[in-house]
């Protein structure tokens, strides 16, 4: 049995972009989060499934789900517990507000360092509200972990390496990677397993402190009686960061303006690798954009 084998899953709560109505965007071009219901970022569910598969193959391994966001992100931890995760925490603090991918990955890497014996980190390839696909790779850099991106299928599991099939634009690639390792998982990977009935019954009342500010006393009583119903909530101080690398201050990206772009062309254009064809493409593009 592996001694203390921790698998971390990074999961984000995102606005549900199905059936986006007019009220979904604010006048300034930012997302009106209040108008949209929230969901578990789809590819993070694929990541959770892959993490659970590794956990099931390694005796003694545990899956810990980490989500950065407001109090409502506790939904992500509950949903993960229903589906078989062993533990989880929400990283929540006003000082994280305005984080770009650089500040986000820094905060997440600080939180991961708080955990012992982390051998693997799984996360979705990208979140549907930003589509950057940057957070995973940046976390790997900060932790000094190996990384495998665009994972589609787990081909082999041992206690010190994974064999993974990657989905690339032109085909697949099978790689073997040593631990510690971070894996970003794409939407073509196996779907996440369903919620498990008895885990749902066990955890549906689980809450974290900032969710129950109004009913703190009742919650304390519940937690006393059933300690497993208290979800972990970490603020900035809990994860020992350099404070100036958090939130807006720690973000290198400054958003100047957001425009609503309507794509007119639906099909692809093939350009021959010849000088005149490329010049023609350049002229076409200028015609469209300027």
């Amino acid at each position: 049995m592996a001694k203390e084998f921790q698998i971390v899953v990074l999961a984000k709560q995102v606005p549900d972009t199905h059936d986006v109505g007019k009220e979904a965007m604010n006048a300034d071009g930012t997302v009106n989060r209040a108008a949209l219901p929230t969901v578990f970022n789809p590819e993070d569910l694929n990541a959770l499934e892959m993490a659970l598969q590794v956990r099931d193959a390694i005796p003694g391994a545990k899956v810990f789900v980490l989500s950065m966001g407001p109090a409502k992100a506790a939904d992500i931890i509950r949903e993960s517990l229903y589906r078989g995760a062993d533990d989880g925490a929400v990283l929540s603090d006003r000082r994280f507000a305005g984080s770009d991918t650089l500040a986000t990955s820094y905060a997440l890497s600080c939180a991961i360092k708080k955990l012992d014996n982390v051998r693997l980190v799984f996360c979705g390839r990208q979140a549907i509200d930003g589509d950057t696909a940057q957070v995973g790779p940046q976390v790997a850099e900060k932790l000094n972990f190996q990384q495998v991106t665009y994972a589609e299928k787990l081909m082999g599991v041992s206690e010190d390496k994974l064999t993974i099939c990657r989905r690339l634009e032109q085909g697949i690639e099978i790689v073997e990677a040593p631990m510690p390792l971070l894996v970003t998982v794409g939407g073509t990977a196996p779907e996440c397993r369903f919620r498990i009935a008895n885990r749902m019954l066990q955890y549906y009342k689980a809450v974290m402190p900032s969710e129950v500010k109004e009913n703190a006393e009742a919650a304390e009583q519940l937690w006393n009686e059933r300690p497993y119903l208290k979800l972990k909530e970490w603020n900035a101080d809990d994860v020992n960061p350099e404070m100036d690398r958090l939130g807006l201050n720690g973000s290198a990206t400054k958003v100047k303006q957001i425009e609503n772009v309507v794509l007119l062309k639906k099909e692809n254009v093939n350009v021959e690798p010849k000088a005149e064809a490329i010049e023609q493409m350049w002229r076409d593009l200028q015609g469209v954009v300027f």
Partner: protein
Amino acid sequence: MNFYSDNESLKFYLNHPEMKKAVTLKEMNFADHGKYADAPANAEEGLEHYDLVMDLVGEISGNVLAPNAESVDQEGPHIENNEVVYAKGTTANHEALRDAGLYGMTLPRQYDGLNLGYVPNVMAAEIISRADAGFANIWGLQECAETVNEFACDELKAKFLSRIRKGDTCSMDLTEPDAGSDLQAVRLKATWDEASNCWRLNGVKRFITNGGAQLHLVLARSEERTTDGRGLSYFLYDKADGGLTVRRLENKMGIHGSPTAELVFKNAPAQIVGDRKLGLIKYVMALMNGARLGVAAQSVGLAEAAYREAKLYASQREQFGKTIDQFPLVQDLLRDMRTKTDASRSLLYETARKVDITKSYEAIMKTRSLTPEERKDMKENSRIADALTPMVKLMAAEWANQTAYDSIQVHGGSGFMREYACERLYRDARILTIYEGTSQLQVVAAVKGIAGGTYLKCIEDYDAQVEAALAAGVENAEEIKKLRAQLQKMIEDYKALEAAAKQMEVCPDRRLTESLAYIVMGYLLLLDSTRCGCFLESCKNLIVMGRGEIAKHSACVMQ
């Protein structure tokens, strides 16, 4: 798609006023709380648990089972090396429900079960049947676990119950070539093998649903030189122990989701369940009532699917410049389908509540003796459950067939083509009035309730409940008063019919049973209407239908 959350009626019945009592009894006053992390602390939590589990069943039914139904119907199961191989979709359905921890949901927590009551058990069967009525049989056969739990010794329970919970499937091996409705004629032989300290089974079983299962409950003749039901015992057989050949699979008209097999037992080792000689007269009869309610649930689920298919089609299909659901004659069809489905469902959950409460008292009796009031209450609930079970099996199964028939009618020519689901539903529905006791046998079972006055007593009690609700104040009070008066008139007409029937030359039993069924369901929908206006239209329509039926039977009998 979620087949639980998209159907408001289900939540309505899960939160019926009597459900708090049902869950409190089932949880033995919440004795498991503190011992198990998933045990509820009180009735509110208990009902929340029911809601959560039904939501999960609804999600898997809507997203896995229903999309697989068409390919399962086309592919069906086959035999490979003496193993029954399910259609690919059937296997996927089974694994999804197993992995979600839903099998054995009614088993006690000591066997890793969820300890859910009988009402959510029946509801799960309804939801699953709406998605795939054939698969519902494989799901429903876990009822065998209930028999093992109720009657088998602790050793057998420990050995098998958690296997069912982990997804080993079951079959109930009763029917033989010469023993169908008449199970007393069962011949499959069980002999005691002293050397191996087990029973040995020899003989043939036919029409065995899910006959390739890992675990079989087998009705067999253990007493030599007997010919009737008193010579039969019940056995648990594990396919892993060998001695069983799956001789063939039947080529059926419908419910292709569940294989129906002919089985040959040759010196198959088995263990006895409970006591010798009680196989048919006690254990199978107990199982049979559950199985009948299971078919009633299957019927309601299938009817719901057929109604929804028709309603959707009628709202999209345009003729003469408008959608066909705007034509009064199509509306008539849809209204009758809705009415029959609502009425069957109301009776289904009324029956399930009575069974739920009865079973919980039986379980409590194993831990302590009941108080006189509790004993009285148990007897009362059990008596009503026994009377309503054949009634709901009869009516729900017949009406599911009519609803499936009408669903094709609404689809017109398209409904006759294989592309539309209504065609599969029509074939799947046909068995409902036949298996687990034909409609005719349900009437035979109902006669006891007619002669003993159980139904009329029930109806009196419903009338008093309506009166109490009116006194307490309800919405739509005028309408409800009017409908109550009509039901009271129907009772009078029925009594005249019953009196006249005694002089009748032909058998009046089915006419009487159906007439009573209309009154019972009319009252149940009326009681539902005192809590939610959404049942009023079906209630009104059912009463119109029922008055017509009773008038028709009266004309026949009193000529």
